[in-house]
Each structure stands twice: as structure tokens, then as C-alpha cells.
Symmetry: C2
Subunit: 460 residues, 2 copies
């Protein structure tokens, strides 16, 4: 599962680019992530350089003030992509020329950017971990100038990927161990789709229809045929015959183009009882699954599986729990976060040097105005406290020393040390971590109905 998580040249575009562009979520090389940035990051940098404050040691934290309404837990995804984005945040002559031509920054700032390379430290929750309001998901420390520039790209990745992973996790719970197929590429941006397939895998999906996701992340890909293939032929029989001839009797035949019962009969007649699966993509899936299972069994095709696909979400999946369904294909509702297509993660300055003196101590800072957008200043740790049975009972967040009883329950890990990524891992590690983290929550975490966050966040 991890072949594509290491740098590879086999499947990337030819070119003389020396940067490490592995695992960027793209099927192609991306020489820089430096323009995935809001303009104000650059104007702030320019003003800070001119004012002499750009070098102040600063601590930024990523967190959410709330979970999407009714959700019981969040799922962090995208951390691996963030590490690549940070590593590839560089300014070549093309980008510097653009910033100069458009008068976005001045000459001093351009010179500073030409040498840019993040040299600070990043800690954070590891990918796949669950989270709650206030969880300090990522902490970026460095000079103000080097850390402020990373705001937009970090938030883009984490907000998108975590939204998909959270939906995937709920669907995986609803599916109760039956495999889930990601097939939402057509419903979202073509490269967003690649990241979505990756996040869905972290959240518990088994496979994807998206070949770019297979190419970049080595996620297993699946897919056989659409209604167009049946309609291309003069009869459904011709279509099934052609598909079985090309793909073998283990293929999946789509049986709802005309009449389902007729199609199932024809399918088994052509492929024999060793037919791999039938797919149902419309109609009352609960009713059809039972009827088709009965029909397959009557025809002796006891091993033939039933795959259902048709605007499924976690509730529709759950409603099929007692139906003879073997796998679910999910598209739209997965890649759009099942009602919550983004998270509300923010990237806030929580501490900075007390003065321009390089040895000045850090002081906590926070926005103070009315309006509900306040945050808590200070560099924070986080730990998940367990009850006597070993079940999580609280997300504890603090900015002082870590209480000894929580020392081995800390959630943050070192991700980047002095600019070097130190926490690369295969995607399966994040997927396994998510399964374990979810299993450690109180039982009510996995109820699909609306509720409060399943753990309270306590500030120590």
C-alpha cells in the first residue's frame, strides 16, 4: 500500500525538477505550492519585513471552534499532503516574476522569498486521529515571516481532506464491515477528487474508481461498466456477452438498464453461477437487493455478490444493513462531506516573541473583540484522558506543563523539525490509526443521529 508514498519517478511526468514532489495528491509533478496562498500573506510579510517584526518567533495553531452541526467527532486527514506542501513551498523565477510584475510585493520581499524555505518546527495530531472543538491539530513555529505564508495551503488541505474523511468514517460505521467503494470523482474538482479518494481511504473506504488516486497513492481501483455500455449494444444480452468475453465471468454486470429480473437471468445465463457480482444503480435498493439475492440463489449463483450504488449517504447505507448487499459504491455525498463540504479550521497566531530581540520569550496573544471569533492564546498541548475502562472521556487542552497522569496520552507528534519532514508514513498507517482512534471513543460516538461532540474539551 505504501509504494506511492515514497518518492517515485516511474509514474511522474518527465522533467528536470529536482524538488521532492512525492505524495502531493497530484498525478503530476508540482514544482511549488507557494501560490496556493492568499495575497494578504505576502502583504503582511512585506509590512513585517519593513517594520522589523518579520523575524519574531511565532506560534500558529490550527483548530476548529466547532464540529459541523450534529457531528460527534472530527477526523483529521491531509497531514501527509501538508508535509509535502510545506517541503515544496519555494519560489522559482516564474513565481517571483509574477509577484513582481503584479506589484504584489516589493524588491526587499522578493529577495527574501527567493531564499524561502521553511526552517521551523511543526507538531500536530497524526493523520487519521479524531478531534474535537479546540483540539490543537497542528502547531507551526518559526519566524512570523516564514510561518504566516503557510496559512492558506495548510488550511486548504486540512479543511478539504478532513471533511471528506469525516463523512467516510460515518459511512464506514454504517457499512459495518462491508466494503465501500469511492466513486465521487465526477462530482468534484478533478484534483480535489484525488485528495478525496485519499481521505476516503483514511476514513475507512477500501477502493476507489479514480485512476489518478490509484496512480498517485496506490489505492486499489475498481470499476467495470456503466449504462452506456449496455446501450451501445443492440441488446442487453450482447452487452453482457461482450463484457464477460473481455473481462471474464468474475466481472460485475450492471443490471438496471431495462428490467432488473430479466437482466439477472441473462447475466447468470451468460456468465454462469461464477458471475462475480451484479450492480444495482437505481430504484428501491432495499427491495431490489432482496429480490435479486433470491433470484441469484434460485439460479445457483450463491457466490455472486450484490453491489449497490445510487446517491448513497451514511443513512442510506445504514438502512441497507439487513439487506443482502455485499458492497456500497458512494459518490456525491462522500466527496461533498455528506452535508459538510469543508471544516471550519482556522490558523491563528497564539504566541510570539515579546520583542524583536531573538532571545525574547514568547507571549500568548489572542483576538479580543466581540463577535464570537475569539481564541485562546498560548502554545498548547493536548491529551485524551481515559476512564477506568480505558475508554476516552475528555480531550484535555492546556498551555502550561502537561500533568504527569496525561504525559503518555498526548496527541501531538513531531512532524517537521528545523524544516525537515520527520513523520512520513504510508497511507495505511493513517487508515489504521483512524480505526483505532474511533474504537477508543465512547460507544455513542458512532451513532449517526445528531448529537453533541462525544468528548468534552477541557482546558487545563
Amino acid at each position: 500500500m505504501n509504494a506511492k508514498n515514497a518518492p517515485t519517478t516511474a509514474h511522474t511526468a518527465a522533467g528536470g525538477n529536482a524538488m521532492n514532489t512525492a505524495d502531493l495528491g497530484l498525478p503530476v509533478d508540482v514544482p511549488s505550492t507557494a501560490l496556493f496562498t492568499d495575497r494578504y500573506e505576502f502583504t503582511m510579510l512585506q509590512a513585517a519585513l519593513r517594520g522589523g517584526t518579520a523575524g519574531r518567533r511565532s506560534v500558529f495553531e490550527v483548530f476548529t471552534r466547532r464540529l459541523p452541526e450534529g457531528r460527534r467527532y472530527g477526523v483529521l486527514a491531509g497531514t501527509g499532503r501538508v508535509l509535502d506542501a510545506v517541503e515544496n513551498f519555494r519560489f522559482d523565477s516564474g513565481i517571483l516574476g509574477f509577484l513582481s510584475d503584479q506589484r504584489i510585493v516589493d524588491e526587499t520581499t522578493l529577495n527574501w522569498l527567493a531564499d524561502y524555505r521553511f526552517s521551523g518546527d511543526i507538531h500536530g495530531y497524526p493523520e487519521g486521529e479524531v478531534y474535537f472543538p479546540g483540539s490543537p491539530l497542528m502547531r507551526v513555529e518559526g519566524t512570523f515571516g516564514e510561518a504566516v505564508l503557510l496559512e492558506t495551503v495548510i488550511l486548504s488541505i486540512l479543511n478539504h481532506d478532513s471533511a471528506v474523511a469525516a463523512a467516510a468514517s460515518r459511512m464506514a460505521v454504517a457499512a459495518g464491515g462491508r466494503p465501500l467503494i469511492e466513486m465521487g470523482a465526477r462530482r468534484t474538482h478533478e484534483l480535489g477528487a484525488v485528495a478525496a479518494a485519499r481521505a476516503a481511504y483514511v476514513g475507512g473506504f477500501s477502493t476507489t474508481s479514480d485512476l489518478a488516486a490509484g496512480f498517485r497513492y496506490n489505492i486499489p481501483t475498481v470499476g467495470t461498466s456503466a449504462h452506456a455500455f449496455t446501450l451501445l449494444h443492440d441488446s442487453e444480452r450482447d452487452a453482457f456477452t461482450a463484457q464477460v468475453a473481455a473481462l471474464g465471468s468474475g466481472t460485475t454486470l450492471l443490471v438496471d438498464t431495462y428490467d432488473v429480473a430479466e437482466a439477472v437471468r441473462t447475466a447468470v445465463e451468460i456468465a454462469g453461477p461464477e458471475l462475480g457480482a451484479v450492480r444495482i444503480d437505481s430504484g428501491d435498493l432495499l427491495l431490489l437487493a432482496h429480490r435479486v439475492r433470491q433470484q441469484l440463489d434460485d439460479l445457483g449463483a450463491h457466490q455472486t455478490k450484490i453491489v449497490v450504488t445510487s446517491d448513497l449517504d451514511e443513512y442510506a447505507i445504514a438502512s441497507l444493513a439487513a439487506a443482502p448487499v455485499d458492497a456500497y459504491g458512494v459518490g456525491t455525498q462522500l466527496v461533498t462531506g455528506s452535508g459538510h463540504p469543508t471544516c471550519s479550521m482556522v490558523y491563528k497566531l497564539v504566541a510570539r516573541a515579546a520583542s524583536d530581540d531573538p532571545s525574547a520569550p514568547l507571549v500568548p496573544v489572542a483576538k479580543k473583540s466581540m463577535g464570537g471569533k475569539t481564541s485562546i492564546g498560548g502554545r498548547k498541548w493536548a491529551a485524551r484522558r481515559l476512564d477506568a475502562e480505558g475508554v476516552a472521556e475528555a480531550e484535555v487542552v492546556g498551555s502550561g506543563p502537561v500533568p504527569p497522569e496525561l504525559a503518555d496520552r498526548q496527541l501531538q507528534v513531531e512532524l517537521v523539525r528545523a524544516g525537515e519532514v520527520v513523520a512520513r508514513e504510508p497511507l495505511d498507517a493513517a487508515r489504521d490509526r483512524h480505526t483505532a482512534a474511533r474504537a477508543g471513543l465512547p460507544l455513542s460516538a458512532t451513532q449517526l443521529s445528531r448529537g453533541e461532540p462525544v468528548l468534552p474539551t477541557e482546558y487545563a
Copy 2:
């Protein structure tokens, strides 16, 4: 506005790639779009090649069965990106190696793909046009093999971009001529954000905060500072002084980090009455806008503008219509389609050759089963019928000859002829077209409240 819509080498990554990769929505070269494809397209191709049907002339159409609930019209966006995707849909050795290694297709199919280049015709609604349920938005004609492969990438682009453009259009209506700033990059996938900024521009936004969108599409970029900049300094006064020193008094100062009234006083004191603008990012924007306007006027800063940003959507924008607001910055709700992050566009085979004979006539085809996913077969035209006052009164769709009275009201244009793109245009053309198309609809089109599609779709 159109410098970046033409191929450019100035701002693209160095490399020996000979393909035309202009305008792909990426700040980097993408040598191929061929893997933004669901696996089943390739397995269908393989089965059709083996069965001898891959060469049957086929007609696929893109349409929606419905608008998002309550919406009055749809906005087509992404057409320009589709044209680039089709042009760059090629198979290099890296991609072929992947398809071979993963046993996705057989040797015959690999050989066929190695020479792939779309050689058919594409017609469609031009970008920025409005649409309704059943509007034939794009029609792809070619052999089954060459046309079926394009399904996923075409749908990804149109479903994503049109969702954002529809939200943008409603926000532009609500803003009533006041400028709108796109600033949602941090809330969506980093490359989805670039496409979202482009779609927002088509829908009526004026500027973006996203530098990658400025780089690729030459959309004007804006942005000055965040709360972090104020918090970096020992006082708000120090922060404003540094920003004005670096960016001039025409800059926009963020006034809600501590106390708004105090900040406005300090801002005008430092920048003088020529202060460009103040930005308010939290609190009761209606109340604050009035208070801040009064305060600015009292301080003699009559020309200083007020920019508001804070989880705005079309309803919040409309609620500020009578407030002294000069510009709106919109993020989350724009890039997530204001409740509808995707469209429900599908790509369906509607006609194909009656036999494998290359001169065989086309026959209409359509899925027939129950379940609501039926479609209407046949190659379709579309026209917008006007009433006596010249206002649109119906979207007329048909598959026979076009009635003479509708001949000059046809909506589809030629986009690709025998594989060559023939309809490139600057992004401003799509933006202007959208404004004109919306203005041609009945007045009730622009009501924000829920309703039915403002035009009925009639099948001739």
C-alpha cells in the same frame, strides 16, 4: 484580462513538455488529464474493442435532471477548462505503464490508448450561459471508445465549476453592483480553489485573494492583512503604523482585533483621511457598518471604504443592502456552492450507430428501468424562446428539426471540430455572457427565496 487565457511560458514550470497545457486551472504544467477518469471507462473500452463495438459512432450529452432545490436557474462554468482537458487527454509511457502494471486493460487496449487523441466534435452551451433541467449543456460525438473516456473529467469540471458559479451569481445579484472578493481558498482543495476563483469570476465576482488564480487566469488579486499581523505587534497602533509605512495610506486596515471604535480612530490618525478602507471581520456587520461609517465621516474620512468579511452568503449580503458597505469578501459559502457544492450533471449515451457498419445511421437510446434515472434519447438541440417583450419564457429542447422561429435563438455553439478546439475565448467573455443571460430572464429569476426553475423546459 485575457493574457493568461492564451498559452504562456512565462509562468509555467520549466520542462520539456510539448503539449499545450494553457488554462488548465493549475499554476503548473499538467502533461495529461487522462487519469482523471473512472476505471470503468477503461474496462468498457476494452470490452467494446474486443466486441467490435468501440468504433460505433456515439453521441453523449451532459445535462441535469433538476436544479438544486429552490434554485431558479443554473450557471454553466468550466467549459474553457473542459476544452483544455480534452486537448490534453493523452497517454504517455508513465500512464500506460500504470494501466499495464495494474492490469486495468489488456495489450490491445494499451496500443489503442497510446495513439489516443479525441477526434470527434463537441457542441455545447457557451460558458456563463444559464441553464435549466434538461438543457443539453454539452454534446460529445465520436466513436464510443473515444467519447466514453471523457465522461469523468468533463463531469468533474462542469459539476464543480458550475456549482460555484451559481452561488457567485446569486451573491452578485444580492450585492447589487457592489464588488465581491473571492477569498475561499482556505476552505476547499488547493487546486479546487483555483477553479473556484475562476468560476466566481464568471458568476460576477471582481477579484480573488488566491494568487494561483491570479497567476493562471489573470484574475485581479487583493488582500492586505489578517488578525495575526496586529497580534504580532506590541500594539494595534504599531501594527497599523507598520502596515501604512509598507503599503501606503490607501491600504485596508483590519479594525476588529480589539475594539472597533478605538481601531478606527487609530487607523485614521495614522493613515489620515485618505485611508483606503477598513475591514470588519466579525460581529454584527449591519450595526458595525453604520457605526463605523458615522465614525469615519466624523473623522473626515469620507472616502474611506468599508469592506466586510465574515461567513457571508447571498442572504447575509442581501441583508446588508441598505448598510454603508463598499465591498464584500466571501469565502466558505462561495467555494462550497452555498449549500449545493456540486451539480447533478450526468453524461449519458443518447444515440449511437445502429450497427458496426461505419455508415450506419444513429439510433436514439435511453435507460428504461424504474428508479427515476431515465433520460430522453436522441441528439438534441436547445433554444430559449422569448415573449413579446423579449424576455425569455421557455427553454425548448428537441431532437428533430429546429423550428424556424427558434433558429436564431439556439443555445449550443461549436466547441471542438474534428478534435480541434475552435471556441477559445477570454474569461471576460464568459463573465459578460453570464451577466447578459441572467438579464434576459424573467425578473423573478433573481429572487433569492426558494422557487421553481424560472423557465419551464419544453420538449419539442
